[in-house]
Symmetry: D2
Subunit: 130 residues, 4 copies
């Protein structure tokens, strides 16, 4: 399914802009607002994860097979302030019949904010009885 055809209410709620991207990839943009912050006034870890997880959702669902996240891991490198414009990109590391893995980066200008790896389950139709 082309990335532009996916409707993701949570992504819309967070103001995430979904850009055109090739099959198996994703490209997003988002701006940190005050409602996205933690108790230190910087972007909340869960907000940054939601950006990465949305990229995972789009990249892994760009084929004809529905895909859902099994496991994700995230590394936080640098705090992000209100007003910063973030760019999120996903690349496919591996894709098999039943599972696939994607690596995602969140950058703010030339700063690497966070890295994320997600593995999805691909819901292949079960072979039908004759």
């Amino acid at each position: 399914m082309p990335s532009s055809a996916l409707t993701i209410p949570f992504a819309k709620h967070l103001g995430i802009e979904i850009l055109p991207a090739g099959v198996g990839t994703a490209h997003l943009r988002a701006t940190v607002l005050d409602v996205h912050t933690n108790s230190f006034g910087t972007a909340h870890g869960g907000y940054l994860n939601a950006l990465a997880d949305t990229a995972l959702e789009i990249a892994s669902n760009s084929y004809d097979v529905p895909a859902v996240a099994l496991t994700t891991s995230m590394q936080y490198h640098k705090a992000t302030s209100i007003g910063e414009a973030l760019e999120i990109t996903a690349r496919e590391t591996h894709r098999g019949r039943s599972t696939a893995t994607y690596h995602i980066e969140i950058v703010s200008g030339s700063n690497l904010i966070a890295t994320f790896t997600g593995t999805v389950f691909r819901k292949q139709p079960r072979a039908q009885k004759a």
Copy 2:
């Protein structure tokens, strides 16, 4: 700092209810709304991560030392529908001088929805020059 004293704008934005909990722990409640869903109409992975990450933030900041997430990992076990009431609990697995680790569970009734592990950096004041 007592959990009730933390102001977390993103947690408020997501409607997370922060319950009283002991030092080194956290106890939250949240209800899945339509704005929290993914393209399949169930709770978005990033929303569930934000619940867990908020529990991490509260549990790890319940001492006198500011703590920020370094790495997190999450396992998704069961999809969650709009209207479901989720309960999130954090326990401290290990706490050292400079880092600490917390394990978090998200349940819906008797169903385990997701598990999460987070490791934080504890910003100890540097020894001052005499």
Copy 3:
């Protein structure tokens, strides 16, 4: 398959003792030898991971369905010295048709050395054509 019936060459190579354990669980013992150490003279992270991964292999293969690791995450809490006797236990966090998750702990006496979470793919036989 009962845990005692599994032959795991790498576990034998590392001197891991596999104790009887219930379905969906595992219980191992191992002693840190000098060949198991890193450049600091303490147990190598890869050695500790091999202990946990062996527990994952045994617990997840205790049913009639072959299971292979998809993703694992590990948290290191405390260094371990040569001669220390380690105990490793696995519990099943979730088991579905195609995937399952296990949480594993490595302890040395009353010290928690490391925690580990592993998610496996369960190779169900594909439905056969009539």
Copy 4:
């Protein structure tokens, strides 16, 4: 410290060959032997993790600051057979004062076998009293 100067008994025990590599990186080679296998006769997950963790140890200790693993995560993409020659490379994703993150790949020819992310704690000397 140059990678060639590190003595890692567990790496030697597993037959890992440490090649010259730049600061912040690592480059290893290893061949899967029968003692490195799991119950399916392919390379054990813990063995593959030990290869990646050794690359993490070398890359993160290539500066003047001792570094120890805090958390690691690993994704398994393809099974590996006895006799296969594996190549392991590490790159530095981020390095701060107290922590750093490395991404590691294990390949066999043109096949991506596994990916690994490790975050280390850098043991900076504490400021001394005057």
